[in-house]
Amino acid sequence: MSIHFLEPADISAATALLAEYGDEAKIIAGGTSVVLMLRQKLIAPSVLVSLGSLIGWDFIRLDADGLHIGALTRLGDAERSPVLSQVCPALAQAFSLVGNVRVRNQATLGGNLSAADYAADPPAMLMALDARLRLIGPDTSREVPLFEFFLGFYTTVLEPTEIISEIIIPPLPESARAAYLRYTSASAVGRPCVAVGAVADFDTDGKCQDLRIAVGAAVETPQRLARAEALASAQTLSDELVAAIAEEYAQALDPLSDVRGSAWYRREMIRVLVKRALMEVRDRHR
C-alpha cells in the first residue's frame, strides 16, 4: 500500500482535495506530527495533501488590527522573527521551546495548533494573547477565537475539509507585559508538565488592567479563568492577590495525570507557575 503525495498549488486546491478524498486524506505541513503518527502506524491515509507548495502563507506582519502570522510559518522562523521580538518576545520564547531546533525548522504554527497535543507550548501563550484563527474550507472562511478552537485531546473544531490559514493576535497596548513560563518535571528538554501564558496591562498608577492567564499542558485543553482574571481588575498586583489568583486556578482546573506528573502534583505546579508568571509580568518588562 503506497501513499499518494499530492502538492496543491494553493489553498483552494488543497481544500478541494480534502473534500474529494474525505477520510482517506491527511494534511501534512512540516510533518513533525504526521510523520511520527505514520511511522507508529497510528494513522493510515492513502493520500497526503502537502501544504509544502503553498506560497505566501508563511508571514509575520503587524497591521493596524494586530499581529498576523501565516499558518505555514515555521516555528523556528517565528522564534527568530524581528517583528515578533518587537511586539511580543514572550510569544517568540514560547515558540523557541517547542521540541528542539530540528523540529522547529520543520514544524509550522498551523500544524502545531491543529495537532492539539495537550503537552504543547504555543497554545497557552496564544490563548493569553486572545488569538483568533482563520479557517478556510472549500467554500467557507471563518474566524474562530482560540479559546473555542480546542475541543479535547487531539481534537479541534476544524472540519475535515478546513485548513488554518492564519493566526491573528489583537494589538497589545504599549504598557502591556507578557510572560511565558513552562515547567518540565523531568528532563529539561522534555514536554512541559505545566505551561502558563500571562498578559497584563498596567495603567500609570501600576494598577492592573485586562489580566489574561492561560494554563496549558496540565489540562486537556488550555484554559483561562475569567473570574480569577477579574480579581486583578484595577488592582495592584500585591503578593496576596497573586497568591489568591494562583489559588483560584489551582482549585478550578481539572489537571490530568501522566508520566510527567500526577493530577495532585500538577495542581500544585499550576499554583506555583501561575504565581511565578504573575510576578514576572508584574516585575519585569515585556
Partner: protein, 731 residues
C-alpha cells in the same frame, strides 16, 4: 580515537546499514497478553500475503527450542505459553516492510489468559501464579553469602538500622536498537549481530541447532551503544531459526524503539538492608536481602545475581555479613545486564543507608565513611584479601574536585536550597573469563590486531591498539583493528563487566611479547648476535652496535608477515552456600560528590556540580578514560532522576524516548569533573562504569543535606521530593 572522523561524519558502518543480496525484511509478532496459554497460532492467512516468504511459529520448533544464557527457559519464539506482553510469538520474513506488516495483522492468535503477577515480592508468595515448571515459588536463583556470626554481632550493636530501597524497571536505551541478520548456506550459519559477546552467541546457537560451533560464524559490526543490553544472547536464535525457512535468503531484523523496551530491561529491585553500628562509629553486622525482578525469563540473571551479591555489601569494614540475593520470575519483559550490572541498584541502597545512619547518629557522613572504608590487605566479606584498593583516595579526590561550597546557606523564605552528598562504590569484575588476541606484523610495518572485543563507542579498539603499539614500540597510526568475526578473530568471553582493557589488553600485550620474541630469534643471524644480547626497542631489534626494524627482519627473512597469539584468563569462584572464596581478579572502585539545588516550591532537583573519581590501575588513554568517567555520570543522572519504565497490567506505557526520559545535554551539571587515580604498581584494569553507581545515592544524600528529606525509591522525581517536603512540614 581510532575512527573519530568516521564517527563525526556518519561514516561508521553500523549494522542498520547492512545490505545483503536477496535480503528479506524481518518482523516479530508479539504477545498482547501478559500470561496465557497459546491456544492457537495460525499463520495460514498471513502466508497468503504477497511478498511473504516464511513465517516461524512455536509449532515449527523442536524440543531444543528452549535456550537461555544460563537456564534454558525461553522459547526461540513462544512455544505453548506467553509470559509477558511483547514476547515474540511469531516471526515473519517478507520482501518488504509493508508485506511483513500486512502479514502480522493476519496471524491468528488465541490466548487463554492466565492470572499474571508483576511484583517480585508478590510472585514468591504461596498461591502466586507459577510461571515456569520446576520453580514453585518463582525463584530461579538464590545467591548466598554467609560471613561471621550475624546474630552475635547484631547483638553487639548499639543501634540497628533497617531500611528498604527500591529501583524501578528501566532500560539501557542505547541509541542503536538491536539489529540482527542471519543466513544459512547448507548447514553453515552466518549471523551478523550487534552483540557484546559473539562467542557466547555462537555457543548458544550451536546448542539450539545441534550443529558444531565451527559451522557458525558471528560477525559484529561497530555498535551504536549497548550498555549491557546486548551483552547476552538476544534475538539471534529467532532470526537464525526463521532464516532456516527462507531457502537460503538472509533476513534482517531492526527493532523499533517500542520493541527495544520489551526485549531486555534493567532489573527492578527491592533491597532490604539491616545494619548494626556501635556508638564509636564502626559496623558490627550487615544483612542484605535483595529481590531482583528478573521478568519472564531468567536470561542472564543467574550469571548477574551472584555478581550482584558481592556488589551489594559496600566497601566497608563489617565483621559479619549475610546476603540473600533472589532472582524472581514475573510477567514482565526479561531483565538483563545493564551498565555496571546490579551495582547501580546495590550502591543506591548501601550508600543511601550510610547517610541515614550518619544523620541519625549525629555523625558527619564523610567522616563516617573515611573511618570505615577498606584499606589494602584487609579482608572482604567473601574472605578474600583486598589488594590494590584505594577507596579513601577516591573519596578524597571526589570531594576535592567539588571545590568550595558555591552558595551560602539559605535564609528565610528562599525557594531554593543547596546541599552536598557523597557516595563510594565497590564493584567486582567477572571472576571467570578468558581473552585471546592475535597480533600480526607485516613486511610493510603495518600491525593488525585481531580481537573479538566489541567496539561500541567506548573506544575499546583504540585502547587495545594503543596497547599493541606500546608493546611493540611502533607508532599508533600503524595499528589497525579487525573484528569481531569468529571466523577470523579468536575467543573472548565478552565485552562487558569493564573487563576488556584489563583482560584483552593483557592478551594483546602477551601476543606482542611473543611476537617480539620471534623477531629477536629471526634477527640472531641477521645481526650475528646471540639472542640474550638482543633486545627490542621502538619497533626494532637492537644489538650493541646495530639495529633492524621488525619490517626489515621480515623482508630479509623472506617472510610476508608474522603472527602470534596471546591469552589471558581468570578462573575464580565462590562457594555456593557461603559465598566465600575469590570473587574478582581486582576491584573497581569509584566515588562521587554531588552538589544539588532543590526548588522547594516544585521539588525539582538540579545537579549544580558533580565530581567523580575512579581507580583505574594504570590508565591507557587518559582522554578516553576521562570521557568514559564523565559519560558515566551523565548516564547516571537518568536512573537517579528520570528513568522508569511504567507498566499497566504488564504493558509498558512509555516505550518511547519522549515519555521515558533520558538525560539531555541541558541536564548536564554546570560543572562536571572527574579524576582517574592511578597506582604505582601500574596494573591496568579498565574504567568501565565506576563513576556511575555513586551518582544516584550522592544526589539523594545531597538532597537530604539541602532540605532534610530522604527519598528511598528511584527515580528521584520532583513530585516525590515535593510530597516528602509536605509530609515533613506537617510533622
Amino acid at each position: 580515537m581510532l575512527d573519530s572522523v568516521e564517527r563525526v561524519t556518519g561514516a561508521v558502518d553500523y549494522m542498520v546499514n547492512l545490505r545483503l543480496a536477496d535480503m528479506l525484511v524481518g518482523k516479530i509478532v508479539r504477545s498482547l497478553a501478559p500470561h496465557a496459554r497459546l491456544q492457537k497460532v495460525d499463520p495460514a492467512q498471513a502466508l497468503r500475503v504477497p511478498g511473504v516468504v516464511a513465517i516461524l511459529i512455536g509449532a515449527d520448533l523442536g524440543p531444543h527450542a528452549l535456550y537461555g544464557a544460563a537456564i534454558r527457559d525461553q522459547g526461540v519464539v513462544a512455544l505453548d505459553r506467553v509470559r509477558y506482553v511483547g514476547e515474540p510469538v511469531a516471526a515473519i520474513a517478507a520482501e518488504s516492510v509493508e508485506a511483513a506488516e500486512e502479514a502480522a495483522m493476519r496471524i491468528e492468535i488465541d490466548y487463554d489468559e492466565l492470572p499474571p503477577v508483576f511484583d517480585a515480592q508478590a510472585a514468591i508468595q504461596p498461591g502466586a501464579p507459577q510461571l515456569h515448571d520446576g520453580f514453585p515459588n518463582n525463584i530461579f536463583k538464590h545467591s548466598k553469602l554467609r560471613h561471621g556470626d550475624l546474630d552475635a554481632t547484631f547483638a553487639e550493636a548499639d543501634e540497628i538500622f533497617a531500611n528498604t530501597f527500591t529501583s524501578p524497571p528501566a532500560h539501557q536505551a542505547a541509541l542503536e536498537p538491536h539489529v540482527c541478520a542471519a543466513q544459512w548456506v547448507g548447514d553453515r550459519l552466518t549471523v551478523w549481530t550487534g552483540t557484546q559477546a559473539p562467542y557466547m552467541v555462537l555457543r548458544v546457537l550451536a546448542e539450539i541447532f545441534g550443529i558444531p560451533p565451527e559451522s557458525i560464524r558471528i560477525i559484529v559490526p561497530p555498535l551504536g551503544g549497548a550498555y549491557g543490553g546486548k551483552g547476552h544472547i538476544r534475538i539471534e536464535p529467532l532470526v537464525a531459526a526463521l532464516a532456516r525457512k527462507t531457502g537460503g535468503r538472509p533476513v534482517k531484523f531492526v527493532l523499533s524503539s517500542a520493541e527495544e523496551f520489551v526485549t531486555v530491561t534493567k532489573h527492578a529491585a527491592t533491597l532490604e538492608l539491616k545494619t548494626g553500628v556501635r556508638q564509636d562509629g564502626t559496623f558490627t553486622a550487615r544483612q542484605v536481602t535483595v529481590y531482583w525482578n528478573g521478568g519472564a525469563y531468567a536470561d542472564a540473571s543467574p550469571l548477574l545475581i551472584p555478581q550482584g551479591m558481592v556488589r551489594s555489601i559496600g566497601p566497608y569494614r563489617i565483621p559479619a555479613v549475610q546476603v540473600d540475593s533472589y532472582g524472581i520470575y514475573t510477567n514482565l519483559p526479561p531483565a538483563g545486564a545493564y551498565r555496571g550490572a546490579m551495582s547501580s541498584q546495590t550502591t543506591w541502597a548501601y550508600e543511601s543507608q550510610m547517610d541515614i545512619i550518619a544523620r541519625q547518629m549525629g555523625w558527619d557522613p564523610l567522616d563516617f565513611r573515611l573511618k570505615n572504608l577498606f584499606h589494602s590487605g584487609e579482608h572482604f566479606a567473601t574472605g578474600e584479601t583486598l589488594h590494590d584498593v584505594h577507596f579513601i583516595e577516591c573519596l578524597a579526590a571526589a570531594v576535592k574536585g567539588l571545590g568550595p561550597v558555591t552558595s551560602l546557606p539559605p535564609g528565610e523564605g528562599r525557594e531554593v536550597r543547596v546541599g552536598r552528598g557523597y557516595a563510594v562504590m565497590m564493584k567486582s569484575t567477572i571472576s571467570t573469563s578468558r581473552s585471546q588476541a592475535r597480533l600480526k606484523l607485516a613486511s610493510d610495518g603495518k600491525v593488525t590486531l585481531f580481537t573479538s572485543t566489541v567496539e561500541m563507542g567506548q573506544g575499546a579498539h583504540t585502547a587495545l591498539a594503543q596497547i599493541a603499539a606500546e608493546t611493540l614500540g611502533v607508532p599508533f597510526e600503524m595499528v589497525s583493528v579487525v573484528g569481531p568475526d569468529t571466523a577470523v578473530t579468536p575467543f573472548d568471553s565478552t565485552t562487558s563487566a569493564s573487563r576488556s582493557t584489563g583482560m584483552m589488553g593483557k592478551a594483546v600485550m602477551l601476543a606482542g611479547e611473543s611476537l617480539i620474541q620471534r623477531f629477536i630469534e629471526l634477527a640472531v643471524p641477521l645481526l650475528e648476535t646471540p639472542a640474550e644480547n638482543l633486545r627490542a626497542e621502538m619497533g626494532h631489534v637492537v644489538a650493541a652496535e646495530a639495529s633492524i626494524s621488525f619490517a626489515d627482519v621480515l623482508k630479509r627473512s623472506n617472510l610476508g608477515f608474522l603472527e602470534e597469539n596471546g591469552e589471558y584468563g581468570t578462573n575464580l569462584s565462590l562457594d555456593p552456600e557461603t559465598g566465600q572464596g575469590i570473587s574478582t581478579p581486582h576491584w573497581h572502585q569509584g566515588a562521587g560528590a554531588a552538589e544539588v539545588e532543590v526548588d522547594t516550591d516544585t521539588g525539582q532537583v538540579r545537579v549544580l556540580r558533580y565530581s567523580a573519581s575512579s581507580f583505574a590501575g594504570r590508565v591507557v588513554n587518559p582522554r578516553l578514560a576521562q570521557l568514559q568517567n564523565d559519560g558515566n555520570v551523565i548516564f547516571g543522572l537518568g536512573p537517579a532522576l528520570l528513568e522508569e519504565m511504567v507498566f499497566d497490567g504488564g504493558q509498558v506505557i512509555n516505550p518511547n524516548l519522549s515519555d521515558y526520559a533520558i538525560p539531555s545535554i541541558r541536564d548536564i551539571p554546570l560543572e562536571l569533573v572527574s579524576a582517574c587515580i592511578e597506582s604505582d604498581e601500574g596494573d591496568m584494569h579498565g574504567i568501565g562504569k565506576m563513576t556511575l553507581p555513586p551518582v544516584a545515592p550522592a544526589i539523594a544524600n545531597a538532597i537530604e543535606d539541602a532540605v532534610g528529606v530522604r527519598i528511598k525509591n528511584l527515580p528521584i522525581t520532583a513530585e516525590k521530593v515535593l510530597r516528602a517536603l509536605r509530609e515533613e512540614a506537617e510533622k
